[in-house]
Subunit: 88 residues, 2 copies
């Protein structure tokens, strides 16, 4: 499978979710290999505020549908990586 | 790593998220290997309505913290499986 192009807006997302979708900080979910339909709805819900998470709403800002779709395709195409087992 | 015991309430969750956390229907996210802290917060937010998804709120009902924790440990301990590549 072809890897989608790296999204223009990946940098801010990657700070918490990792460039390849493995979370970098507590509380942030892994996104690698997540279903595209779920990611797309989540991002739209953050954008319009129906999923009311201030940090995500601020981070996503006025993202265009095209940019949003790039992020969805990028993260859903990544392969989840093994993580340290112990988590709270 | 030891696999946690199968949660008492796994059946209803599994209908959409799969027994091992790979989504069975469009719109449902994969949960396999998701971070425990994220899953715990998501379930509590569904339970108290602060994450307002009627289906999830109905499905989760008045789950106890202990049952909720079983589900968190079960799904976060699963290994994500490869999926069909083509998704909408």
């Amino acid at each position: 499978a072809d890897m989608p192009p790296k999204p223009v807006r990946l940098g801010l997302c990657a700070a918490c979710h990792g460039e390849k979708g493995m979370a970098q900080i507590p509380g942030a979910p892994n996104l690698a290999g997540q279903r595209a339909d779920y990611l797309r709805k989540a991002l739209k819900d953050y954008r319009d505020g129906s999923r009311n998470v201030p940090l995500m709403r601020a981070a996503i800002g006025p993202v265009s549908d095209a940019d949003l779709d790039q992020l969805v395709r990028w993260y859903s195409a990544q392969t989840p990586q093994p993580q340290a087992a112990a988590q709270p």
